[in-house]
Symmetry: C2
Subunit: 326 residues, 2 copies
Amino acid sequence: MEFQLIDRIRERTAQGREDVRLGIGDDAALVAPPPGQEIAIAIDTLVEGVHFPQGTAPADIGWKSLAVNLSDLAAMGASPAWALLALTLPTQAAAQTRDFIDGFADGFAALAQPHRLALIGGDTTRGALSISVAVHGFVPPGKALTRAGARAGDVVLVTGTLGDAAAGLQLLQQGARIDEGDGRAAYLIERLNRPTPRLAAGLALRERASACIDISDGLLADLGHICAASGLGAEIDAALLPRSSMLLGAFDDVAARDFALSGGDDYELCFTVPPARVAEVQTDLARMGCGATRIGRMLESDGVRVRDVHGQWLEVARRGWDHFAA
Amino acid sequence: MEFQLIDRIRERTAQGREDVRLGIGDDAALVAPPPGQEIAIAIDTLVEGVHFPQGTAPADIGWKSLAVNLSDLAAMGASPAWALLALTLPTQAAAQTRDFIDGFADGFAALAQPHRLALIGGDTTRGALSISVAVHGFVPPGKALTRAGARAGDVVLVTGTLGDAAAGLQLLQQGARIDEGDGRAAYLIERLNRPTPRLAAGLALRERASACIDISDGLLADLGHICAASGLGAEIDAALLPRSSMLLGAFDDVAARDFALSGGDDYELCFTVPPARVAEVQTDLARMGCGATRIGRMLESDGVRVRDVHGQWLEVARRGWDHFAA
């Protein structure tokens, strides 16, 4: 039974990777890593009602469960190769399980295929809906991006726009439907449900960014991790935060700012670059269709502080998501 | 918060592996695989009430969540190296969470340390208690044991004794306490809660066994996987099934036989060996303190059939655990 379910997903994911010697169906998979590369490995779990709202479409859950993991590889500057999937599903009618699996597999595969990611192992169990995915990617020795390399004076940048996913979640919680109105809700909810891991940007940042992290828990929390790992502080200019026109059309300026500062689930990259290289990095990322906006700089201090549009220091109460907080 | 919990476990697991370039604490771990080795990778999830009874001690849960995964590496003939842990815990008082984590970490580490297994990544989330562990081990190219290589005429063997874990589960469900009586219950429950992955045996079987699997779902189900993957059938002699004196002391012969045939969770190895090499394999495994008993042979047919002590074919209704069955 286990393999029948996992097989429905495997059938939809890219095959033919030469480095996969034995895929799904035995006690373990066998892979032959490329000589001279390091392997970046990450695992993340999504739980219904914690990491995605109840009622989220199976295809969106499949996409997101892979996306949040690929985002970790992006933040390391690694290129994806293999994934494992542990899927826990509630007891329900067989037809419902099959429908869920087929939708989940479609969403997972839609993201896996363009990256030639192979699903090499899986486990299915009964219980409350949750999904753990482990991913593996390659990076040349010593070239991985980490949180620890920022220097005082480095410029802080982020890819894309911030706050959309948290705004989408709020709209969903207020009962918005994606087929409503002017397309803003649809856009923001899509940003929540189908985040784009910034893999190409991560590769382009190797040997250029001094530190990098993906924004899963909110900008302040995640930039705080760079600060802690690098032994520095940072200041951010709220006026510089990149925000989508959809976000600014759907919420007032203060709400949009707070989503951008503290909202989780954007899966953009936050990274630091020496001042002399900022223009080059922005040009290169723009060429791949991924904006990179400077929002602040690293300081010889600790913690993250935020200047508002009037030049005053902001008090920011909510510093990010902590899924493990009671 | 996440890393504080995972750190309590990491502190207790083996450090100082030179192939771990970056451990827990960044977006991903970085490892440098040994040149010229394949990597065996497996993932398994344990859910409370499905894979272990409610009330199981946290240390036993920690041990077992790693053991079931190391058992997959054993079945491939791989030597363990790295693990990832995704831990989902219910919302509860902070002190309770800390106690659970400390116990879990002690059990996990007690099994990880002798194998020099490094915990390199983790994720903690809130939800119904469940644990996913992914493990990585090394095996020389082309030398891994699989389910697919058995030939007609090969002898079927198993390590250790069968049925103890299922008997332990039944005793627990009947309200047995481990401090009761003559030690039989304690032994059988320990076999359920603290299975020993047969890693050394798996290594010794490389280049000798033609096929191998670990017994997690019950002998009949798991030998059935070898049959399916090898395109063969098998016959088993019930009189030859290795059963512990504890099992035979606590249950009658028929119950003990059924536990040995269909009980899950033993995590012994079931493997096939050409007749000419059986004695050599048995001698080598005995030298490492691991009995290996011949129980049957592979046939040009399909499915697994069982002969009882009178030479009659047994009807066996329950062919193993299927955790995913509704």
